[in-house]
């Protein structure tokens, strides 16, 4: 499989603290990489560096052959190719669900409104929300809003999708409906980088799991090796915090 995203020696500092410290990573087309780690380990910052929401100090990020960070010039063009869904509900409150989804393709990609709306309705139908198309975000539950946010990213036809703890702010009973959508995207063969605290979901969706701690990749591997036979003590300790066994 061809490589689609390459990160070389990525570093970032916040006031002298190394948030990211020399991270290198190569992601193949169609691969699903899940990133886990304790809070404050830099995993969200890492995702944000990938689409230029954060400046980096050292290293570089490539999408295909194109250097995308650091690169001030074509930032918006790059972001069209890298979709991102955030933790907080970030829909546009003054637009209906359908308008939320169609805004970027119409304004950024200059596609025809009728054609975009048709595709938007198909995608909304797929996540079970076609009946909400004329509602406003405030009328939706958290899980429904996140499914719309995923559709809004998908309609830009991104080459890579980034998910930044998309279920962390949700009520427990709504987590499933969102993760089901992400899982179905994985099965479709989409390239995705997912930051999450849901370990069983990570095991189900990932081709590869990465453990990030102190701004470094401490361990990585296939989900079965990663969760069943962790090698480093730090990962063993981290995984233990998710189980209640003695």
């Amino acid at each position: 499989m061809e490589e689609i995203l390459r990160v070389e020696n990525l570093s970032k500092k916040y006031e002298d603290v190394d948030v990211l410290d020399g991270i290198s990573l190569s992601v193949k087309k169609g691969e699903v990489v899940v990133i886990v780690g304790p809070s404050g380990c830099g995993k969200s910052t890492f995702l944000r560096c990938l689409n230029g929401l954060e400046d980096i100090r050292d290293g570089s990020v490539f999408l295909g052959d194109e250097k995308i960070n650091p690169n001030k010039k074509n930032l918006s063009k790059t972001r069209e190719k890298i979709g991102m869904v955030f933790q907080s509900y970030d829909l546009f409150p003054h637009k209906t669900i359908l308008q939320n989804v169609t805004l970027a393709p119409i304004k950024v990609k200059k596609r025809k409104k009728a054609e975009v709306e048709e595709e938007a309705l198909k995608l909304l139908d797929r996540v079970g929300l076609i009946s909400k198309k004329d509602n406003y975000p405030r009328q939706l539950s958290g899980g429904q809003k996140q499914r719309v946010a995923i559709v809004r990213a998908l309609i830009m036809h991104p080459e890579v999708l980034l998910f930044d703890e998309v279920t962390a702010a949700l009520d427990p009973e709504m987590v499933r409906e969102v993760l089901d959508v992400v899982l179905s995207l994985a099965k479709e063969g989409r390239t995705m980088l997912i930051v999450t605290h849901e370990m069983s979901f990570a095991r189900a969706v990932a081709d590869r799991v990465i453990f990030l701690d102190g701004g470094k990749i401490v361990e990585e591997g296939k989900p079965t090796d990663f969760f069943d036979n962790p090698k480093t003590d730090r990962l063993k300790k981290f995984l233990k915090t998710f189980s209640y066994e003695e």
Partner: protein, 222 residues
Amino acid sequence: MGFEVLLKGNNALRLLGGLGVAMYISMISVVISITLGIILGMLMTLKNPVINAVSRVYLEIVRIMPQMVLLFIVYFGATKILGLNLSAEVSAVIVFSFWGTAEMSDLVRGALTGIPAIQYESSMALGMNRLQTYIHVIIPQIVRRLIPLSINLITRMIKTTSLVMMIGIVEVLKVGQQIIEANRKSSPNAAFGIFATIFILYFLACYPISCLSKYLEKKWEN
């Protein structure tokens, strides 16, 4: 009841003319306040220490000083000390704009800083550039927050024009007093009739604006 004085001579027309003066002063002040308030409010979000210090003192002065004192300072004080020959109308517009700009800038600052950072980030993550983000996402949200609040400010400014008679402007309240004085013998109840009419006039001027604000607030509840 005293309403009959309205029919004498051109009293009714004179009252309306007085309301016209009040509306004229407040509308000019509103336009100046909104324009300058938007500019100052945007400057205040830049977090420049000098701008912040100056605007804080300015806002505090406006909050503490009664509008009447400001009117006297500008009309009687500034004319003497600075040697400017300001008419009462110009003084009133200066004071009302000074006050309105302060309130408006604070509203604008609040609306701007109230937009969560994630709104900017998620727009940019969709490939929108800065201009597109402002036009399609940020400004519509700011306008929705701002319009009901600034309409409220407008009605308060219209009401407060009743103070300008203190510096000799013949607006609706002053006209009313003149009519009452002139008809003291023939219509001893004129005070009630005239002031009730003025009440209705102010109500007619402010109520539609207030309704518009309520309507917009409801419409943009999200």
